[in-house]
Amino acid sequence: MAANISPSAFDKEQIFGMAEKEMEYRVELFNKMTQTCFNKCVDNRYKESELNMGENSCIDRCVSKYWHVTNLIGQLLGSGKPPM
């Protein structure tokens, strides 16, 4: 829909930088979620190398809840003004 707009080199750089920042943000979100849910759900005595059923269902719920918290805070930050 915006295909016939020809952005200047400056715009392109800005847009690319923006996309890169967002990618960084997503990777960080994934890393923090992974670390946090591991702390909350996985027994750190490591008696075996498999995740058991309890751990697996905890992880699924943890990801779901973490995602809800991300949305909730995003809404709080995003209402009217940019994040932060």
């Binding site: 800005q14 930088g17 923006m18 920042k21 967002e22 960084e24 943000y25 960080e28 979100l29 923090k32 946090t36 909350k40 759900c41 269902s57 905890c58 699924d60 719920r61 943890c62 779901s64 809840k65 973490y66 809800h68 918290v69 991300t70 909730l72 805070i73 995003g74 709080l76 930050l77 940019p82 994040p83 932060m84």
Partner: protein, 86 residues
């Protein structure tokens, strides 16, 4: 400006991590419970207010003194050199 965006996003991620850690501890349900949601809202609001207060207090302290290490002494002359070139 882009640095600002990155730092906002980083702060956003830290805020989520903190409030999740402080407010969510049981995983019997897939969705956020009412009291968890209230806790997260308060946590985020409180942290943002706190963050603004820290920023305010920090600006009132002399930055020059904060960066009174060697690297800091490079900057003032940088400004002298770079500014007129624009």
């Amino acid at each position: 400006d882009q640095l600002q965006i990155r730092d906002s996003l980083r702060m956003y991620n830290s805020l989520v991590e903190r409030c999740f850690n402080d407010c969510v501890d049981t995983f019997k349900h897939k969705s956020l419970q009412k009291q968890e949601e209230t806790c997260v809202r308060r946590c985020a609001e409180k942290f943002l207010k706190h963050s603004m207060r820290v920023g305010m207090r920090l600006r009132s302290l002399s930055w020059a003194e904060v960066t009174g290490i060697k690297i800091g002494q490079v900057r003032p002359s940088c400004v002298d050199i770079v500014e007129p070139a624009r």
